[in-house]
């Protein structure tokens, strides 16, 4: 059975790598439809990334090359931990801490790589990315904290899905906050401040080019996919979709997972099309309010509800 688990894990990583740009393509298509235009083909982001991977970077500093490849590999490790297409993950105790660490460090490494670029735009972009992501990760940490506290369990596979572990008001609060956060974590429009193209000329990415830029964009898309699938894993009862085939356990939960992910990106795209961009201080004010709420929910969890 070990080799079956291994194939699932490898498949999991591959599907995540391909699904992230695909969902972004769907988002761009839906956003275009809302803006009364045809919009790019669904596979457009995959074409962009494949073109960028084949192009050599120009005038890059070694520091940004190393930092970006580190952040890309962190994102790959993250796909091992969070079950996306198949209900399988490494699943050792307190892997949630690693999930939070990896999520935070991918964006911090991106900010550091941007500073290495030494242009004023990337400097400002990295400062925005750093401050924004700190606020978001704080809220995610509180949410995962409440889940762990309310169920007394600190390994991810045991937490999934929430239905079997019974419902508590604190868990409900945590999950609604996580739902809003999956939108913000993806740095979608009101919050796409670090790479605000018209303001600071795609701030964080301004100095990357060719393969480095491809890796940076791919990491960014992967993070979006993983946080959304983290949220969906809590709700999706994957056991229903198992079925036996000659002694082996075939996991078909990829089908509902894909349907929900596509639905989620359509909803995200429509909301993104209807928003302007917040200024950094307005965004931080909103995130501070969410942090206080999530702290309240955590206190609720400690109190035992």
């Amino acid at each position: 059975m070990l080799w079956l688990r291994l194939t699932y894990i490898v498949l999991n990583v591959l599907v995540a790598l391909l699904l992230a740009p695909l969902l972004h393509g769907i988002e761009r298509k839906v956003k275009a439809k809302v803006q009364n235009r045809i919009g790019p083909p669904i596979l457009q982001t995959i074409y962009d990334l494949s073109k960028l991977y084949r192009r050599a970077p120009i005038g890059y500093s070694i520091a940004s090359w190393i930092l970006i490849s580190m952040s890309f590999s962190y994102a790959l490790i993250l796909t091992l931990l969070v079950p996306t297409a198949f209900n399988v993950s490494l699943g050792f105790t307190s892997d949630l801490v690693l999930v939070i660490y990896l999520l935070t460090s991918t964006s911090v490494l991106m900010a550091l790589a941007a500073i290495a670029g030494a242009s004023p735009y990337s400097g400002v972009g990295s400062s925005r990315e750093a401050s924004l992501v700190m606020a978001i990760e704080l809220v995610i940490a509180f949410i995962i904290g409440t889940l762990a506290v309310s169920y007394g369990v600190f390994t991810l596979p045991k937490l999934l899905p929430i239905w079997d572990l019974g419902f508590k008001p604190s868990v409900l609060g945590a999950l609604t906050l996580l739902a809003i956060l999956t939108y913000i974590e993806g740095l979608r429009l009101p919050f796409d401040i670090p790479e605000a193209e018209p303001e600071i000329a795609s701030g964080v990415y301004v100095d990357f080019s060719g393969r480095i830029l491809a890796a940076a964009l791919h990491t960014h898309l992967l993070r979006r996919l993983l946080v959304t699938s983290l949220f969906i894993d809590f709700l999706l009862p994957r056991e229903w979709f198992y079925f036996k085939l000659g002694g082996y356990l075939i996991d078909l939960s990829i089908v509902p997972y894909l349907i929900i992910m596509v639905l989620a990106s359509v909803i995200y795209a429509v909301t993104e099309a209807l928003f302007g961009r917040y200024r950094i201080d307005a965004a931080l004010k909103l995130l501070k309010a969410m942090a206080i709420m999530s702290l309240g929910v955590m206190v609720l969890a400690f109190a035992g509800y």
Binding site: V34, N36, R37, I38, L274
Partner: protein, 173 residues
Amino acid sequence: MSSVGRLDILKKALGIGVVTRKYPYVRVEPPEGFRGKPIIDPDKCLGCGACAEACPPKAISTEDSQEEGARYVKIFYGRCIFCGMCADVCPANAIELSKEFELASKERNDLYLVIKVPMVKCSVCGKYFTTAPLLLKSLENVPEHLRPIMTVCPECKSKLSSRFTSFARRVGS
């Protein structure tokens, strides 16, 4: 987060639907009177060069080559601003602005339209001095007996006339 306003925007946007024109798969026809590519009609062109004179960006140039005995009127579409001054000043209405606007090209040489106009030799010194159609057109309003003089180039004409006058003075004195 005034969501009511946003939903109206969404409703209106979806109501209008996709408005993209699928060019280049669908042909786009510019309206009447569109100022497109200026085209010279070789049957009417006299090679007089009035258009080269009037062209604000000097996109039309004329060049006489003595070896081939022809004047080259060249339009460089790269610098043409499609203003229509050449069409206004052309005495023979040989230039008119077509509705053609797809002029993209990979080589700069493709952007040239060259009109080769045969020229006429001066019957005294044998140098090419004007184009044949221009000479024929200007012959119409020259009285019959003076027509032969039109085939002499300006320099020779001035030399001849100066010799005539000096001779006349000598005879007169």
